[in-house]
Amino acid sequence: MTPRLSMNSNAILTTNRLTKRFGKFTAVDALDIRVNRGDIFGFLGPNGAGKSTTIRMILGLIKPDAGEICLFGDNLKQKRGSILDRTGALVEKPGFYNYLSARRNLQLLAILAGIHDHAEIDRVLRIVDLFDRAEDKVKSYSHGMVQRLGIAQALLGNPEFIILDEPTTGLDPMGMKEIRQLILNLSEEDSTIFLSSHLLHEVEQICNKMAIINNGRLIVEGEVAKLLSEQIEVRVDRPTDAQSVLSEIEWVKSIEVNSSGLMKISLEAGHIAELNRILVNAGFEVSAIQPGRSLEDYFLTLVK
């Protein structure tokens, strides 16, 4: 799956020095993030980093102590109703009225969002593959089905901005894959996705942008491809000669050649294509250029 790049710079979500304290503990500390229209934005951080608190503030469930949140260009404090009208959310493990059917649950939530079209309930039930079980009470649902129903309620009304907090929790590998594909499909349909996840490969596979927070602070934010491409692995026909050529270049920070002849190159972001051109022009046969580290390596380095 190829991560999508944002096509424009229209900000859907911006937070400005967003801060939340619980007593003496600062859960979120002057957080600035920006999500553009069309982004699939990965929101990463270890447990207790402040991800859920941030999401709850974005949705108006928790009131910030300082800073501000703007969605669709409007301040959340002033335009909460109209903002939430355009936003769908799954916040952690979804809860439903177990004594009611899935359809009834969705109907109640749809009415709250001003949606009275029964076809919309069918649409979201079909998306998450629960249409055939729609009349069953939620108490008969498995954990994975409840999770999918949670995603269904977030999709009611086809919102422009969808916040998904750990959407694949409790799903089997097939279910996880389906949800990832669903997120990509939603993004294709012009929805902007804010995805909080512990599964780093999930973010790596489907997100085009990401932010990593730790101890409530933003550590890094940017395009996934750029952040991961700062260290690359290059395979050429004469690695030792290539090392000599590349070591002269200013934006190449370091080069290591391992026993199998693979070059591990650390470089400034945005120079991969140029590096390839230099090698080819110098007569080297470049057989592979690939990201030299996974998101997991990157994440662990940053949060240490």
Partner: protein, 280 residues
């Protein structure tokens, strides 16, 4: 707003728990009726209130009729009705918080104030329906099973009300009983906003009521100073509908205090809920 109330209505009356209270009232009234049908004469003979009466008066006819039984049922059950009310009112917010549905509700466009108002309205309707069920069952079924007649009330003195007068007094007493239970509803609602588990408001409300009733009913000079500030001091106002003459000023004053308590409880609940961080 009407739609929000409809949603809360569906949620509240879609739950089994809601019907436990109605079932309890049915069972209770059925038991009292059965007992009195089988052994009603014995009850009147051995009743403390009427034992002395039979020594002093020659009573013609049967004291045991639908009105008498309805008054008896009201007297016995009103003390326990709060428990049935808090089962639902106490669950309105805390139950949603513990079930994880509150955060889904609050991420929808309607404001917290609107959602809470809808919940408050449905809780009050539920409480009123419970008291009305009690009244209709005891008066209606009681009159069919035991017939109608004069209502004899023995309290500080003896009051004999004709059937028509008795019905008028019930028509005053039941709305007052509803008002008094609405205060219990508001208190349970307030505690429901404060905690995030459904048991807390139930236990908390009952504990407050029990302590307040004890203080209200205990003739200790220290307690006398506290009594005016307890809603339980006024919650037996419905009983005054059966006094002769009806203490209108007293009833109006007590009702005013009950309204005030109810509004304060709801107002505090709204203020807290509006500011509350939803962490559940």
């Amino acid at each position: 707003m009407i739609e929000l109330i409809k949603i809360e209505w569906i949620k509240t009356f879609g739950k089994m728990r809601t019907y436990i209270s109605f079932a309890a009232i049915f069972v209770l009234i059925a038991l009292i009726f059965t007992g009195l049908k089988i052994d009603g004469g014995q009850f009147i003979t051995h009743s403390t209130a009427f034992r002395g009466l039979r020594h002093s008066f020659f009573i013609v006819g049967d004291l045991l009729n639908g009105y008498f039984i309805s008054h008896l049922v009201m007297f016995f059950t009103m003390v326990h009705i709060p428990f049935l009310i808090v089962l639902v009112a106490g669950d309105q917010i805390a139950g949603e918080a513990s079930g994880g549905t509150l955060r889904i509700l609050l991420t929808r466009p309607p404001s917290r104030m609107k959602i809470l108002t809808a919940k408050a309205v449905v809780s009050l309707i539920y409480s009123a329906l419970l008291i009305l069920t009690l009244g209709l069952l005891s008066l209606g079924v009681g009159s069919i099973l035991f017939g109608t007649g004069n209502l004899l009330i023995a309290d500080k003195g003896i009051l004999i009300l004709t059937g028509e007068q008795a019905l008028q007094r019930f028509a005053i007493a039941y709305p007052l009983a509803i008002l008094s239970m609405c205060v219990v509803t508001a208190l349970a609602f307030l505690l429901s906003v404060l905690v995030e588990n459904a048991i807390g408001p139930i236990i908390g409300t009952m504990a407050i009521i029990i302590i307040s009733v004890i203080i209200s009913e205990t003739p200790i000079s220290l307690f006398e100073k506290i009594k005016p500030f307890l809603f339980t001091t006024y919650s037996t106002v419905w009983q005054k509908a059966f006094y002769n003459p009806i203490p209108v000023a007293d009833i109006v004053r007590s009702s005013g205090y009950l309204c005030m308590f109810m509004l304060v409880f709801f107002a505090v609940a709204f203020i807290i809920f509006n500011r509350k961080d939803i962490l559940s």
